[in-house]
Point group: C2
Chain length 316, copies 2
């Protein structure tokens, strides 16, 4: 099975309306909408580094798309087209079938079309996805607009994915709670609708891939402001709370990464945030505030809580 | 050195005029031009598969961009923005410095801006580049428009890169001729200007990555026509002719791959082709003709020449 056959068999689909030429020529030809900026994001997952080698192929496909959709969500943008660069040790029909099914399960709800790809051979499984999105001209959300006086918000619950990965690697006995956490790692929900809704009010936003503490730190640094995070306000899922001691839950939430929730700064009334949350179909929780200065400090029920970032980094 | 530091130190540059937000946020924000279709291409190079492990880092950087620019050229498009997904076993400062220099040497003449990237760790060096280009609405060149009666043309000379790779692996004594062929492999010239000039007259085009015979075969199949290739007319470089026996040169030209020249079908007078070649700064040679039917046959000085495709494929 050569690379053309792989693309044809597993990744070629009916051409979408905004695609003039899809998979199969030297490049794809895409029809952009007028009065939009383009957004491009790229994220690579390597087996054994970004996910355990044992993760199901369908989950790898799903997750590869979701982590990129999450970057699109953090810009408040609308996903449109994606390309796939897939490096595999051996082409295996059942793996490719499962992988492509997971990939489309993540992409289809967002009408995200796969328009190109390249399959190559190598020792690792490496999945690199690139998405082109768009947004009204000049309206992309960035990390650098947070202002003193803003509140800090986060969507959904935090820490689940890191706890799920830890369980995957450790082998805790399966239960509904355990399955929930593992699924939060394997099949993250990119907050695309929330990102679009938040874009109207947020001064700055980022998605949580490296951990709440590290990623919020980046938003604050880009905005040249400081922040305070109240740990008692961090939203934890009920499976997390029932399976983990509170200190462990907080450690997963602050440093764990892989949540793919959105964290943002805005000055807005609770009622308005509630309306946005309802529209986007996800909870939104106020977890801190922005001040002058720099750095991120944590409090727990108002008392200083010293925390050292051990957020996830490549090449450490 | 973590991934943010790598991106900042080696790949961050002044933001181009058509880039609203460059490297460093969740995604890049790009300002498209009105009345253009977008083109997206992606190509991955894996060490030990697509280039020898010993290839200089600067050449790897250059080549990774050039092979993608070649796809853009084959669509007659204008390159605009690129993203880089780079997987490395170990981050090495001098390697990264050389790699990024080569990458920008290939990109800068085309005003191609690097707008995003992801660096990850893995066992192989894997370089995946994606380029977004644009072209006047509806004017992209594709593979599927060749018509009976068209001539088949090729830019530049063919077979040099494959001969250069063979020399790199075999270790022929260095000379000016040998260096020329190696350079044709290590630093291919993407025919971007030629692609744009050809787009006005060509019915179909493809770039030569897998070998003239295989790639022309794809163009003919996409166009549902047949073709005849006259081997005596294939343009060979003088280093190729002086270093290789004619039969070897023909074998490299037909099956070797990695040329990144453009092959296209058009019905056009010699004088008009000459004018396009002069404008694009590259020779263009008539090498065959398109007929009804299917398949690609070769002749040598008019006599049938049986040739079996052994064009390069991954996963064979």
């Amino acid at each position: 099975m050569d690379e053309f056959e792989i693309i044809r068999r597993y990744f070629e689909r009916e051409t979408a309306a905004d695609v003039r030429v899809g998979v199969g020529d030297d490049g794809a030809v895409l029809i952009p909408s007028p009065d939009r900026d383009l957004i491009t994001v790229v994220d690579t997952l390597v087996a054994g580094i970004h996910f355990p080698e044992t993760l199901a192929a369908a989950d790898i496909g799903y997750r590869s798309v979701a982590v990129n959709l999450s970057d699109v969500a953090a810009m408040g943008a609308r996903p449109r087209w994606m390309t796939l660069a897939l490096t595999l040790a051996e082409p295996d029909s059942s793996w490719l079938e499962d992988f492509s099914r997971g990939l489309f399960e993540a992409a289809d709800p967002h009408e995200l079309a796969l328009v190109g790809g390249d399959t190559t051979r190598g020792s690792d499984t490496v999945v690199s996805i690139q998405i082109i999105a768009d947004v009204a001209t000049g309206r992309a959300m960035t990390r650098d607009g947070a202002e003193p006086g803003d509140s800090i918000f986060v969507t959904g619950t935090v820490g689940d994915a890191a706890a799920g990965l830890s369980i995957l690697q450790g082998g805790l006995a399966r239960s509904d709670d355990v399955d929930f956490l593992i699924r939060r790692f394997a099949r993250p929900d990119a907050r695309v609708a929330a990102g679009a809704a938040i874009a109207a009010v947020a001064h700055a936003a980022i998605d949580l891939s490296d951990g709440l503490f590290a990623d919020l730190g980046k938003l604050l640094a880009a905005s040249e402001v400081s922040g305070t995070l109240e740990l008692a306000d961090i939203p934890l899922s009920s499976p997390m709370s029932s399976l983990m001691a509170e200190n462990d839950a907080i450690r997963f939430a602050l440093g764990g990464g892989d949540d793919y929730e959105l964290c943002f700064a805005a000055r807005i009334a609770d009622a308005d945030i509630g309306a946005i949350a309802e529209r986007a179909g996800v909870s939104i929780t106020r977890i801190g505030r922005v001040d002058e200065g720099d750095g991120l400090r944590c409090t727990r029920n108002g008392d200083d809580y010293p925390y050292r970032d051990d957020g996830y980094r490549h090449f450490h």
